[in-house]
């Protein structure tokens, strides 16, 4: 039997940096599963649709996949906006949706058929604030890109800051395609009380802001979001990336993990296979799709080709190691990850290393 799985990724367009690795990872993984004999003898068929990051296309594709291709589940979309638009469709048609987008809104409030694999933004924010607390930082500036990712990041940071006694003195949203942010940096720098800057965005702006801050000779601690988790961005920021602190899954530091870490084996294998296949470094984004396929794999193993049973099976998954962390779902928690899925990393000599505190 062939089990059909749909996928909606932004392989092109503004969110291609997410959708590209996700689509590649999903394809690679499904191939691997099929090569290994499929799931209980059934083969998986992955139908990937490129939404280009447009919600209207995602909606059209979701309907198409559900009705026409009669897929068991949908992986993706890559962005929060798209995910929110098809959340209802998946719910109405009782098709499992495992989103690869960050926004917490996707699984909170919980819709019974909708899951997501990336760590919650709130965890990232908490991790950052914890680190700040350790460093005694109380007054910060928040700058984000005008993407869905940036938007939810800003919301979470603003929501959680008071819990850690942190005050946000300035908040700014810049264009995702910004080519230079030195004016913004000048503005922030002129607010002398600022003790740290948190940047929550995606390529290429997160490297640009790092450069611009350092170029003005401003020596504030710079925090970034988990979107920074790609060695390519460090290379792009070069010298300016040194000392950036950010929360991230363990993928980037896989080989430094302890042998008994449940994620280690899988991460090392994924990174190796991805690198070999696509000749580029694996990133946290691909990991989201990895987890989505992996979770489905586990659920189908238990439940077979049945939408409702698969849903139940996902909710029952406990302690499943994945790329982003160890998943334990429940009817109330459709993300399944804990705060512990993040570690704080920093950049040292152009490499990611665990942040030890200074």
């Amino acid at each position: 039997e062939v089990i059909k799985i749909g996928a909606i990724f932004a392989e092109t367009g503004g969110a291609a940096f997410l959708g590209g690795p996700e689509a590649r990872t999903a394809r690679m993984l499904v191939e691997q599963i099929n090569q290994a004999g499929g799931i209980n003898g059934d083969t998986l068929e992955l139908i990937v649709k490129d939404s280009g990051g447009s919600p209207e296309k995602a909606i059209s594709f979701a309907k198409q996949l559900i009705e026409e291709d009669k897929v068991l589940a949908i992986i993706g979309p890559s962005t929060s906006g798209e995910s929110m638009k098809i959340k209802r469709i998946a719910e109405d048609h009782q098709t499992v949706l495992i989103s690869c987008a960050a926004a917490e809104l996707i699984v909170n409030p919980v819709a019974s058929y909708v899951f997501k694999t990336p760590q919650k933004d709130s965890f990232a924010a908490r991790k950052i604030f914890q680190t700040m607390q350790d460093k005694g930082i109380r007054k910060i500036a928040v700058v984000v890109g005008n993407t869905g990712f940036g938007k939810t990041g800003k919301q979470q940071l603003k929501k959680i800051a008071p819990e850690y006694g942190v005050e946000i003195l300035a908040e700014e949203t810049y264009d995702k395609k910004a080519t230079d942010l030195s004016a913004l940096v000048a503005k922030l720098k002129s607010i002398e009380a600022i003790e740290a800057v948190v940047n929550w965005s995606i390529v290429p702006a997160q490297s640009i802001i790092a450069k611009n801050i350092r170029q003005t000779g401003w020596d504030v601690p710079l925090f970034q979001s988990h979107g920074f988790g790609n060695i390519g961005y460090v290379q792009a920021a070069g010298e300016a990336a040194e000392g950036i602190i950010f929360p991230c899954g363990r993928l980037l530091v896989a080989d430094t993990l302890a042998e008994n870490n449940p994620q280690k084996a899988l991460l090392v294998e994924y990174i190796r296979a991805y690198q070999k296949r696509f000749n580029e470094d694996a990133s946290g984004f691909g990991g989201y799709a990895y987890d989505a396929v992996n979770i489905l794999h586990e659920a189908i193993k238990v439940a077979g080709n049945d939408r409702k049973k698969v849903r139940d099976a996902i909710e029952a998954i406990q302690n499943l190691p994945g790329a982003s962390g160890v998943f334990s779902f429940s009817p109330e928690d459709h993300n399944g990850l804990s705060l512990d899925s993040f570690v704080m990393l920093t950049v040292k000599n152009g490499q990611f290393v665990l942040y030890q505190g200074q």
């Binding site: 092109t12 503004g14 291609a16 940096f17 590209g20 005008n146 700014e172 949203t173 810049y174 264009d175 395609k177 080519t179 230079d180 030195s182 004016a183 913004l184 000048a186 503005k187 720098k189 002129s190 390529v203 290429p204 490297s207 640009i208 790092a210 450069k211 350092r214 170029q215 003005t216 000779g217 390519g232 961005y233 792009a236 920021a237 070069g238 010298e239 300016a240 580029e280």
Partner: protein
């Protein structure tokens, strides 16, 4: 606002402005010889950056840039020869739409060649955090490179168009092609030449700005829109005006940061542009007389 901050904004504005201007110049060249706006100009910028980055593995930086510029000029010539040269009697609208098509095509090709990841050339001098300080104003050396390249190109081109026969002939082609033919000018070669020239300038721009702005397969579109804006704001066809307009727009953008949320920066800048256009329908420095005589 402190004096320091003022200068820091000013310099940020100059940085943006020269980047916009350098793209706008490319628009003006093709406009001057064909009367059309080549919407694929942004892609030339992208190609210049991408090609030089790829070549950097095999050769030193200056050589990589030169080869990339030449390669992009070749692409420019190819675009013209494949899509434009053999058209019997193209209308302006047809040309605009073809160049939009070419721009999308080049972008998609780049996506499938280079992928969606960002790349950049290394800083020509120093590295990411090197700066010169003038008082407490910090300037990245690469910005100076951009400004210098921009100034150099503008002066060179203005002189070229104003004073050299070839420049005059290129302008003639755009004003009245039949008459240019009747003067014995090989109009087709002129057009090809202008595509090469603007592709080369675009590529050059792509190289000098790559360390600052990074290069990605779709970075051309945004730059093209800004460049187009600036070219129009200055008055089409006038490169000196484009630089002035570019600097103006850049500085408006930079200073707008200090008063309104950054998220509205573009909206503010473009609103100002529109207001200027309504008051001066042919750009800040454009002559309405010349524009009226040119039929679209």
């Amino acid at each position: 606002m402190t004096v320091d901050l003022f200068f820091q904004y000013l310099f940020a504005g100059v940085t943006y402005g020269s980047i916009y201007a350098i793209v706008a110049i490319g628009f003006n060249i093709i406009y001057n010889s064909t009367g059309i706006i080549n919407f694929a100009q942004g892609e030339f910028v992208m190609l210049g950056g991408m090609i030089s980055i790829s070549l950097l593995q095999f050769m030193p930086l200056p050589l990589a840039i030169i080869v990339a510029v030449l390669a992009t000029m070749l692409v420019g010539a190819l675009v013209e020869i494949l899509f434009i040269r053999w058209l019997e009697r193209p209308s302006v609208m047809q040309m605009i739409i073809i160049t939009i098509g070419v721009s999308i095509l080049l972008r998609e090709v780049a996506l499938h060649i280079w992928g969606e990841s960002i790349r950049s050339l290394p800083y020509f001098y120093g590295n990411e955090i090197t700066t010169f300080s003038l008082g407490s104003v910090h300037i990245s050396p690469q910005v100076l490179w951009v400004i210098a390249a921009c100034g150099f190109m503008v002066c060179g081109l203005s002189l070229f168009f104003k004073f050299t026969p070839t420049g005059r002939e290129m302008r003639a082609c755009s004003v009245n092609r039949t008459a240019a033919i009747l003067c014995g000018i090989n109009t087709r070669n002129m057009v090809t030449f202008s595509f090469m020239l603007s592709a080369g300038i675009g590529a050059m721009a792509g190289c000098v700005m790559s360390p600052i702005t990074y290069t990605q397969y779709d970075c051309g579109t945004g730059l093209a829109i800004k460049g187009f804006t600036v070219a129009i704001l200055g008055g089409l066809g006038n490169s000196m005006a484009a630089v002035a307009a570019g600097l103006l727009l850049g500085i408006i953008e930079a200073f707008s940061v200090s008063v309104v949320p950054l998220a509205f920066q573009d909206a503010i800048a473009i609103t100002i542009l529109l207001i200027i256009l309504f008051i001066k329908p042919h750009g800040l420095f454009g002559s309405s007389e010349a524009a009226r005589l040119r039929d679209f």
